[in-house]
């Protein structure tokens, strides 16, 4: 019999009570761990959002965000200018095209000059069929706002396919393309009769890597299939920038430029610098992050809530231990007196009680970790959906914007990233990723630290019990 063996024995002295205490502790510990995991997951998500979108600027022709048209198209020379601005790490130009199926063309081309910016979005024919039913979208087009469709908006009743010429393997918001089969386009700075096709569009037209289709009667080979994660985003085709410029017969013209800034802190100053380098009459510079500010800030509040809940659950576990141990010390008053009467030191008895509480906490942690691993995903998504419901309204408005014209590029891919809420499944992936043994171990270490603090108080109380208690009646 050692102190430890006695502590373990004492922990199981009243099995029903031990089971009840362990169950209550497990709930508190489980909640604490789940909150910690959720906190880590949301933190990772915020970082990811900031990293992916926070450092990009989008340059559109002046007035390009409205439907007024007008303004001069952007040029390759302007891209050079922007590239030389301090803190700019890269500039990717895009050229947006509208692909119309040959039959739909006649009914829509007449609107050609009516949409912005500058009517630069050339309409070209294709043998592809759009993957999205235009019928349901026609109405939304009417209410489309400008936020989403950066420079590529249009008001056609028949839904065209978005084709974008890109200067690097990124979508029109500057996010790397997720190519699910086949390969990329290789050299994005030369004209090539190759294209990347979105999954749904490829499906609709029975295309796979290596298949061919036509644009303006020119035959293109499908180099790869990409997945933008959304229906609109996948109703799209990417070709190289020079190829798109050739198709539109507007060499050197760009629809948008995606400017990557070297760090988050420099985004604001660089935005101003790019704007003044290009001139306010020539171009509009928008910050990708702006769309996400609300998203990030509400995710941040989720992060704070989960942190507070973690601390509260941890404190609850500590309090449970404190109360239980105080109760046990009172109950075993006479026995503590016996131990003292036969010569036990105060610290031996104190240690025995702390160890006993740790046995309870260890059991609670095992059960709690199991609870946490089952519950953390659900808790994280519940936290996020309840916390973000207030921001849902503007989000859906932007959705309308996407519906209207965003599919063509800019706003749309922003939608894909800007959907930290819609992307609950994405978050859940990061939740499971964040439920790493390291995080759980850190959480359990915190639980043990709090338990020791909780147990120290009653353990110190035992020092005040006098050996004469032994002669008192039960």
């Amino acid at each position: 019999m050692s102190v430890l063996a006695r502590s373990v024995g004492n922990a199981f002295r009243n099995k029903i009570r031990t089971a009840a205490v362990v169950a209550v502790l497990a709930v508190a510990i489980g909640l604490a761990l789940a909150m910690l995991v959720a906190n880590q997951a949301v933190g990772a998500k915020v970082q990811e959002l900031n990293a992916s979108v926070g450092t990009t600027l989008t340059v559109n022709p002046a007035g390009g965000q409205g439907f007024e048209g007008g303004g001069e198209p952007l040029t390759a020379a302007q891209a050079q200018t922007v590239a030389s601005v301090t803190n700019v790490t890269s500039v990717v130009g895009t050229k947006a095209l509208r692909l119309q199926t040959a039959t739909a063309e006649t009914s829509t081309t007449q609107q050609g000059g009516g949409f912005g910016p500058g009517g630069q979005q050339a309409s070209v024919t294709t043998n592809l069929t759009a993957a999205i039913d235009a019928g349901t979208l026609g109405n939304r087009n009417g209410s489309a706002t400008n936020t989403g469709g950066t420079g590529t908006t249009q008001r056609v009743r028949t839904l065209p396919i978005a084709a974008t010429g890109i200067g690097a393997e990124v979508d029109s918001a500057g996010k790397a393309l997720d190519i699910t089969s086949g390969t990329g386009l290789g050299d994005y700075t030369t004209a090539q009769a190759k294209a990347l096709v979105g999954t749904t569009l490829a499906q609709k037209n029975n295309l796979t890597a290596g298949s061919t289709f036509t644009i303006q009667d020119k035959t293109f080979t499908v180099a790869g299939i990409f997945d933008a994660g959304t229906a609109f985003g996948n109703n799209a085709v990417y070709v190289t920038l020079p190829e798109a410029q050739t198709l539109a017969a507007t060499p050197d013209e760009l629809s948008t430029m995606i400017v990557t800034v070297n760090s988050m802190e420099n985004v604001d100053s660089t935005k101003t610098a790019v704007q003044s380098a290009l001139g306010t009459s020539k171009a509009d510079v928008t910050q990708g992050q702006r769309n996400l500010e609300t998203a990030v800030s509400s995710l941040d509040s989720v992060k704070n809530i989960s942190l507070v809940a973690f601390i509260a659950a941890l404190a609850t576990a500590g309090l449970i231990i404190l109360l239980i141990m105080v109760m046990l010390v009172r109950e075993r008053r006479r026995e503590i007196g016996v131990l003292k009467a036969i010569g036990a030191r105060n610290r031996t008895i104190g240690l025995q009680f702390v160890l006993e509480s740790l046995v309870l906490v260890a059991l609670g942690s095992v059960v709690g970790a199991a609870i946490a691993s089952l519950a953390s995903g659900g808790i994280a998504s519940a936290l996020i959906s309840s916390n973000t419901s207030t921001t849902a309204a503007p989000t859906t408005q932007r959705g309308g914007g996407f519906g209207g014209g965003g599919f063509a590029g800019g706003g749309f891919a922003g939608g894909g990233q800007g959907g930290p809420f819609g992307g609950a499944s994405q978050l859940l992936t990061s939740v499971s990723a964040s439920a790493s043994p390291g995080v759980i171990a850190a959480g359990i270490a915190a639980v043990f630290a709090v338990a020791i603090i909780g147990a120290l108080v009653p353990a110190l109380l035992t020092a005040r019990i006098r050996p004469i208690e032994v002669l008192r009646g039960e």
């Binding site: 019999m1 050692s2 006695r6 024995g9 004492n10 002295r13 006479r334 026995e335 016996v338 131990l339 003292k340 009467a341 036969i342 010569g343 036990a344 030191r345 105060n346 031996t348 006098r466 050996p467 004469i468 032994v470 002669l471």
Partner: protein, 230 residues
Amino acid sequence: MIVVKDLVRQFKSGDRTIKPVNGVSFELEKGSLASIVGKSGSGKSTLLSLLGALDKPTSGDVVVDGVSLAGLPDSKLTEYRRRDIGFVFQQFNLIPNLRAVDNVMLPMEFAGVRKAARLKRAKELLEQVQLDPEKQSRRINRLSGGEQQRVAIARALANEPKLILADEPTGNLDEQTGEHIIELLSSLSRDHNTTILVVTHDRSLAQKTERCFRLQQGRLTEEVKSGLHR
């Protein structure tokens, strides 16, 4: 050598104070075997708890081998209880969820005796108090009153104390087993020079001790022995 000087212990019960120990003085030679008799409630257990440093006197002092208990800090009193005293409680006060042998091992654990050594000694002691080997590994709450009493005696002997304070050690035992325990205690005083003070209601036990004290109205008086010692 134990010197008790003018020991007083008073309790407040309601608005009046009672003094079960009220000016007790006596000396006990090392290795002597003495008994205390007295009516129930006369203060025998109270006096024993003062001698065993379980309780502190209201006034007066106990001097053990020249060391005054009144001047010792709590940690030293703990050490005194652990090393020098073997206390047999009237209510046994064993730890109910531990086995008999574990209870006997406890004081040795507190004294830092190695595990194998304490197990060996605990078994020997339980044999000396005639507890069936089969019952040695039973939990206390599965033992009879008399069996528990013998485990309590074995525990008091564990650290080879120089003073054994036994409160009614034979109260729950049959005559024959009681005789055996008395024989065990007197052999300790004889062979190991252990000082033994026994509280008892048992006339025959009191007769067998070298000295016999009577506690009455808080005062201790020595009874004059009629016959020869032993």
